[in-house]
Amino acid sequence: MKLSLLFLLFGFLLVLLQTTFLHLFPLDPVVPDLILVLCVYWGLNHPTVGAVLGSFILGYSVDVFSSPVLGLNAFAMSLVFLAVYLSSRCIWIHNSLLSAGVVFFASWIKGVALIIAWNLFLTGDGPWMGFLKYVFLEALIAAILAPALFSLLRRGQNYLETARMPV
């Protein structure tokens, strides 16, 4: 539980980064989705009820900061966690390149979930081709950033678990 809380605090830091520092990179309007990478990491390496809640809360936070309607990103992130968790029962990620691949596909799941929710609950005439371009760009950037963030999270998790173990 303590580990999940620390991860969640780290997640809020990522939200802060996404609303401020990441806009320094010349990728406008694409914002690198570090929260998605964290949710994928949770689904693969820390699948607990705390992680489920974390994915929901971080998605909700993105909604609070950015979305015109609450629940859009909470839905997308929850769905990403569920999909990654289900797939983690079948695949075993042992190198960073594979983690980048999983993040790439998870980003597509998030994008498609957003498109469907968008068309169902917001404007009905969503420009699909434009959406696909942004889904691809967002997925590519998230996949490029994933190995570094995975390594950082894995080291943090190992450190905390080692510190917790009795001598």
Binding site: F12, V15, L16, L17, T19, T20, F21, H23, L24, D28, P29, V30, V31, D33, P47, T48, V49, A51, V52, L53, S55, F56, I57, G59, Y60, S61, V62, D63, V64, F65, S66, S67, P68, V69, L70, G71, L72, N73, A74, F75, S78, L79, F81, L82, Y85, L86, L114, A117, W118, F121, L122, T123, G126, P127, M129, G130, F131, Y134, L137, E138
Partner: protein, 274 residues
Amino acid sequence: MIAFVRRNQVLLSSFLSVLVSLYILASAARGRLRTDPIGPLLLAVMRPLQIGAQTTVVRLRELPARVGAFRSLVAENEGLRKRVTELEAERNRLLEAEATTRRLQELLQFRSDLPSGSITASVIGSSASTWFHSLLLDKGSRDGIRKGMAVVSPLGVVGQVVAATSRSSKVLLLTDPNSGVDALVQGSRARGIVSGSLDNGPLMKYVKRSEEVKEGDRLVTSGLDGLYPKGLLIGTVTKVNKKSFGLFQYVKVALAVDPSEIEEVLVVPGEKVD
């Protein structure tokens, strides 16, 4: 039963999480979600962090220019370089102060042209998502900002407030595909809706084929949507697409205001404010 729930607790909680988020989304989209206990709390906690981070971001943006200026001075002798550096720093400070004064004077002048009750606010954050174009302001309901208020700058229309907590508020920019403003072509008085889009940039939609619109025409608010005061500049027409069929022509628009360069805005009460 308990053993089954324990064994599959992550799976079951994941499904529950998806269902709860769908419920929230459906309720919010239909306007039934009146209370949001987490959002205001989160914004209040993050506000000081965002102000600090945004200040650092602004300084980092200025960093390349400062580094460039410093490199040009290295060639000069040590004493002169020191003197020049001091003068340059002083000059930058004064220029910045002058620019800020000019900007605030323009804002004050502009404010006097607007309906009474307009509120000046600073931008403290940008959108955290690729999909939505929004800004966070440092003022909220405590300062009189309400959902639905128009957000403008001396250059033109910026967007509208979609959520306000006690000390901050969220602005949906005109570049967002979910936003819209009732617009008039200044010359021909042709009417349409200016809205953002992800792939094509801002568009003016629902302009009748018979109406005369040409590149370079200025677009202003009509005031008919009850949100934006009449006559505010929205942007200029960059391209007109009149197909051989259909009721409407599609007009591409270059907005007068670049959202990435806004530092201060005015929040204006409209007729349809909650």
